[in-house]
Symmetry: C2
Amino acid sequence: MSVVLLTGGVGGAKLALGLSHLVAPGDLTAIVNTGDDFVHLGLTVSPDVDTLTYTLAGLSDEVRGWGRTGETWNFMAALRALGGVDWFNLGDSDLATHVERSRRLAAGETLSVITADFAQTLGIATRIVPMSDQSVATRIATDEGELGFQQYFVGRHCEPRLLSLRFVGAETARPAPGALAALADPALTAVLIAPSNPWLSIDPMLAVPGLAEAIRAAQVPVVAVTPLPGGRAVKGPTAKIMGELGLPTKAGAIADHYHGLIDALLLDEADRGADMALPHAFADTIMVSLEDRVRVARAALDLAQRVS
Amino acid sequence: MSVVLLTGGVGGAKLALGLSHLVAPGDLTAIVNTGDDFVHLGLTVSPDVDTLTYTLAGLSDEVRGWGRTGETWNFMAALRALGGVDWFNLGDSDLATHVERSRRLAAGETLSVITADFAQTLGIATRIVPMSDQSVATRIATDEGELGFQQYFVGRHCEPRLLSLRFVGAETARPAPGALAALADPALTAVLIAPSNPWLSIDPMLAVPGLAEAIRAAQVPVVAVTPLPGGRAVKGPTAKIMGELGLPTKAGAIADHYHGLIDALLLDEADRGADMALPHAFADTIMVSLEDRVRVARAALDLAQRVS
């Protein structure tokens, strides 16, 4: 059996790590949001790709919740002393990823190839595939004007009121070859959607023409894990954004959002009592320990098997 | 009185620091070799400019002899782990200089403006002026083929036999505005040439059309400090290169090299007995302590005054 996971940042990386303990090496493909990618200080930064790579390589900082463990910040201190902009923190070790990726992109390599090479070099068995090798930039219309994703997320801590989203470049982007290959794999048994923010992290992927179609064409169960256990986001602005979009912060709104794409939704124990026609199951979806991550991964795979 | 210093790397930076203790703040201009500059990992690295900047800012590592004090190397370790090239070491703090400079160059700013801003931000009173805002690349024909400067100097530790040098881009380069302004300053009293490698560090500057002419037009004493005290280079391949070029490793060969440009040469005490028609003086030119640096600077200024 092979499995495809659509994932954004930290929550998705946790689920990917859980899945990597259940799926045979090489049979798990994580298609990753690149709508958050941006060029900062001349370097191409791919936050979700890197979060997943560091998590699967055992390099992520579990306490801070982002970036690399054992990280140092001497680059930032020196940059600040030179009068450089410092609203986006880049750790000394993390910088190597951005510098080397930028160098290889400038030399004409694709993000897919670079990402796969980094994963292989770091000993990761899971295939990490950016959603597209073309640039897709999530931009957020707010009551303070339109902001780039990182300006909104990191620079303004998601404080401005979100009015709408657009994914610049999506119309002409194509799914990365590895994404289409994984979805066309005859051994594919399930597509999972991580408990990432549906609007900020998953929608940019679905905006790439051909990706949602390839998911449907795979004719395997598609199961999402709720990003809103008990009506609250574990981390990040999911609930805030839903409110700003006029949606109830309930599991049903997640099911509605993915209507036509998913076959089932894994809810949290806190969602018992939800009124939902869509096939669903319940699990403790809060992922702190590795055991938690494996448990949620297993529950999602079980639900996929149940609806297949 | 104002003073101009032509300088390359470490030895020149030491003399500049000495001069900065004798010349009033703002009245010392260091014109710096940029023939060593190169693009590495997509970043524009200016080794001589940075060595001078770090030295004058009190940030240089006096023990290692290059780079920044208190430097960490986590970027390099992470780069190595990703399979990146690691023959040229970039410290975590040092990286900030290259990343911020590269970003500003890409935004259309000149190396002069960026260098001056960095110096001001770091509290440096000396004007640091790259020799040109256009790219001039020192390339070295050797018995192993032609090498870029850093390939030769860092990558191959100056081991290949040097056959000849060329300075790619020099023909169309122009002296940086600040260099010409300093040389045209009516208050200018002396031009000094640092004890840097004449072939590798000073010649690229003299290859920029208009710079040597501006020095001569200034009609002030031009004094070089020997880079070959007692026939030996303090550091670096000066003696080795002179041998490969078929020159005697004697002070006279330095005087001959600068013939027509300099009015006097500051020799080392170890050079007493040298047969030299050119006006000269002797000093202990080995610069270890700050006191040494000030002493050599004073001796060079005294010699300039003597021949004026």
